[in-house]
């Protein structure tokens, strides 16, 4: 995939072409999965992998840096944050299911492939809570997703969602309080 394709699509999207998002999403998703897989094969057990590091690397690989504008980056990261949430939470859920007695056909399972149990429970709980928060305030849930899963700053989040920084800040502070309390209520998380 030549980098310019993604760059061009991002710019169309930034310029207001909503259909561009449908074209760019699978490209980003594919790259994130590929990168994650490569990292995971290469790095052994004493390494850790950060989701934001992945998102950054995907950005560098897919997008022509000389052409891209700052706003494109915000849009790119917005998509990536959502994807990383999906990839991580799916993995955590699958793993959790396996622990409960599936997995009879697993022939050789390396010990290193587990998310720490605590982390996978955290991720699942967070994902559930975000779904509930979205029912109360969809944008607030999105703000948390972008800041947490893609590591976006307040400024970048504002740019990606097309709202003011003050709004993002307010959404973040109160949404965070709500989530932390929910996670507390749903079980021992942190």
């Amino acid at each position: 995939m030549p980098p310019t394709d993604v760059t061009g699509l991002l710019q169309k999207w930034t310029a207001g072409d909503k259909s561009a998002i449908d074209q760019v999403t699978p490209l980003i998703y594919g790259e994130l999965r590929k990168l994650a897989h490569r990292y995971l094969r290469r790095e052994r057990r004493d390494h850790t992998l950060q989701s934001t590091a992945l998102v950054h690397e995907a950005w560098l690989r897919l997008v022509d840096q000389t052409q891209a504008k700052w706003r494109d980056r915000a849009h790119f990261f917005a998509v990536s944050g959502h994807m990383m949430r999906r990839i991580l939470v799916d993995h955590a859920r699958a793993q959790h299911r396996d622990k409960r007695g599936g997995g009879a056909e697993v022939l050789v399972l390396d010990e290193a492939i587990d998310l720490p149990r605590q982390r996978s429970l955290q991720l699942i709980a967070l994902d559930d809570a975000l779904v509930d928060l979205a029912r109360l305030d969809a944008r607030q849930s999105q703000v948390i997703e972008l800041r947490f899963f893609a590591g976006l700053s307040i400024d970048e989040t504002a740019e990606a969602l097309g709202v003011s920084k003050a709004t993002v800040n307010r959404d973040w502070i109160t949404g965070r309080a709500w989530l932390l309390r929910e996670l507390d209520r749903r079980g021992p998380v942190v």
Partner: protein, 554 residues
């Protein structure tokens, strides 16, 4: 967890109102909040307690603030199942696992309609001759035609991809089985006897496994053990590294000291690794487990694990004894043949089965009682950790008022929920029926608000396991809230003891170390806490019991 809908009845409109007040309250310094809430909530107690709980939650945890969140351990497996692909003349049906040496697929040999497990070797280097030798060794083990050794059909390569076709086994690894805590000690011992027989047969034929571990032992649905990957360790890469001198490394937690040191591994190295598996079976945890690779390797070479029957009193002494001997650092001191190990195990197994009288108390009765309890618990749908005996310890805070650096009155037993005055001194008392190691870690506001940790206890690196500990005094001289972790471990925690090497005062400022320790602490499994006369009692099945509390000073 799932069926209690949080914030039941809360709708978007109500949340809008709550968040407006919440936002203003969070914008105020804590001292002004109460007055503001008095006014804003105007006597609506429900609203007020809702907001107060939100404020408390938002100040309690930093979970969401470490934005670049989940550090994943490697190998989040995301690739597709590979179904439909062909490797050699095999048609892949599904991907069934990822091991140190590569990916394992379930595949069909269409020529004879046989289902096979196809192991694709990712790191097999070397010339054609070396590869052939590698395969020959694997094949030789398989050719023993032992019922407990997995059969290898063929070795081939397809476009530079080397693979081994072997017997497809429907079952579960011992590793997965141990993680589930479901099988009884007797059952697990029976598997160990079978596995021991397989390894003994291979040794008799001059073949050393070199990477024995729980994940390399499969148990079929009918209870037959199959040992995998004989001889493969020698040349394949992945988890297993081949050093320049040709010595081999296995999987760290199961490696023998001589493997760690890069010396040649013979059959007695397998006996050591087998001892690690036996220890895991008996105690529910591994004998050597550092927090990272270097500390694990260090433990393998230098540390003597707690006796198996000290970790789990239900382990009969003869079993504990054979495990201890397998785990001797010096290979000359280990049992010299796998066959003798197997024989000892089957004797222990028979004694268990006959209700015989292994020394030390009446473990048989304990085991039966345990099994009956387990069965009852399973019937009741309770998830029951198996061999870990419940560990328990009780701790409490002793506090003493101070004025101008002088004690004022007698020390008293405080509740963790108390608020203390800055300058008072505190110490901690911990006791447990099992010996253990106490660790106290404090996280509080350091200079310039930097995140800082203190290891309050121990202050000397080598403190023996004791059933009761009273720490020295600590003075908390700043007002504010500290978070305190109290850990009771059945083994020394290297990560924490290392701190004392770098910082004799126990103070940790280096952000990377702070992060590493917090990461460790947040991963500890939760323990159940109850208040008793002697303090807070914690119970859990793990090897490290931990509690975290807030200590308030004003």
């Amino acid at each position: 967890m799932g069926d209690r809908r949080p914030s039941e009845g809360l709708d978007a409109g109500q949340w809008g109102r709550i968040r407006e007040i919440l936002e203003s309250a969070l914008g105020l310094v804590p001292e002004l909040r109460a007055a503001y809430l008095d006014e804003a909530c105007a006597g609506d107690d429900g609203l007020r307690s809702e907001i107060e709980s939100l404020i408390a939650a938002s100040e309690r945890s930093a979970f969401l603030d470490r934005a670049p969140l989940p550090s994943l351990t490697p190998t989040m497996t995301i690739n597709a199942s590979g179904a439909g692909r062909t490797i050699g003349h095999y048609r892949v049906v599904d991907r069934i696992g990822e091991g140190g040496m590569g990916t394992v697929y379930k595949a069909v040999d269409p020529r004879i309609g046989r289902t096979v497990a196809l192991k694709v070797i990712s790191h097999l280097g070397g010339s054609g001759d070396e590869k052939l030798r590698f395969f020959r060794e694997a094949k030789a083990a398989s050719a023993l035609n032992h019922p407990n050794i997995v059969t290898i059909y063929e070795y081939d390569s397809d476009h530079e991809v080397d693979f081994i076709a072997m017997e497809y086994i429907k079952g579960m690894t011992l590793h997965a089985m141990l993680a589930e805590h479901r099988a009884s000690l007797e059952t697990l011992l029976e598997y160990a006897v079978q596995a021991g027989g397989a390894v003994a047969a291979a040794h008799a034929a001059g073949i050393v496994h070199r990477d024995l571990k729980a994940a390399n032992i499969m148990v079929t649905d009918t209870g037959t053990v199959k040992v995998l990957d004989f001889g493969l360790a020698k040349q394949a890469g992945g988890d297993i590294e081949v050093t320049r001198t040709g010595a081999t490394l296995g999987t760290p937690a199961y490696m023998s000291p001589e493997q760690v040191k890069g010396e040649p591994a013979d059959s007695r190295s397998d006996i050591f690794s087998f001892g690690v598996i036996l220890y895991e079976i008996a105690c529910g945890r591994r004998p050597f487990h550092g927090i990272d690779l270097p500390s694990t390797l260090y433990a393998v070479v230098n540390e003597v694990p707690l006796a198996p029957d000290a970790v789990n009193p239900a382990v009969p002494r003869p079993l504990a004894s054979v495990i201890e001997r397998c785990l001797r650092k010096n290979k000359e001191e280990r049992p010299q043949s796998m066959d003798s190990v197997r024989a000892e195990l089957s004797k222990v197994f028979e004694q268990l089965g006959r209700g015989g009288q292994p020394s030390r108390g009446t473990p048989r009765r304990k085991i039966i009682a345990g099994a009956a309890f387990a069965a009852a618990a399973l019937a009741a749908g309770i998830w029951l950790p198996r061999w870990h005996p419940q560990r328990t310890f009780t701790w409490t805070i002793l506090a003493q008022q101070m004025r101008d650096g002088q004690p004022l009155g007698a020390e008293y037993v405080a509740s963790p929920a108390d608020t203390f005055h800055a300058g008072w001194r505190l110490r901690f008392r911990a006791q447990s029926p099992q010996p253990g190691f106490l660790y106290l870690i404090d996280r509080g506001p350091g200079a310039k608000g930097a995140d800082q940790l203190w290891l309050l206890y121990p202050r000397q690196p080598a403190l023996a396991a004791a059933p009761k500990v009273v720490t020295g005094w600590s003075v908390f001289d700043q007002s504010g809230t500290d978070r305190l972790w109290v850990l009771w471990s059945d083994h020394p925690i290297e990560l924490l003891l290392n701190l004392l090497r770098d910082s004799p005062t126990g103070e940790v400022r280096d952000p990377a170390s702070v992060r590493r320790i917090l990461d460790y602490l947040t991963r500890l499994p939760p323990a159940a806490a109850t208040s008793t006369q002697n303090g807070v009692q914690l119970r859990a099945a793990g090897d490290v019991l931990g509690a975290s509390i807030e200590l308030r000073h004003q």
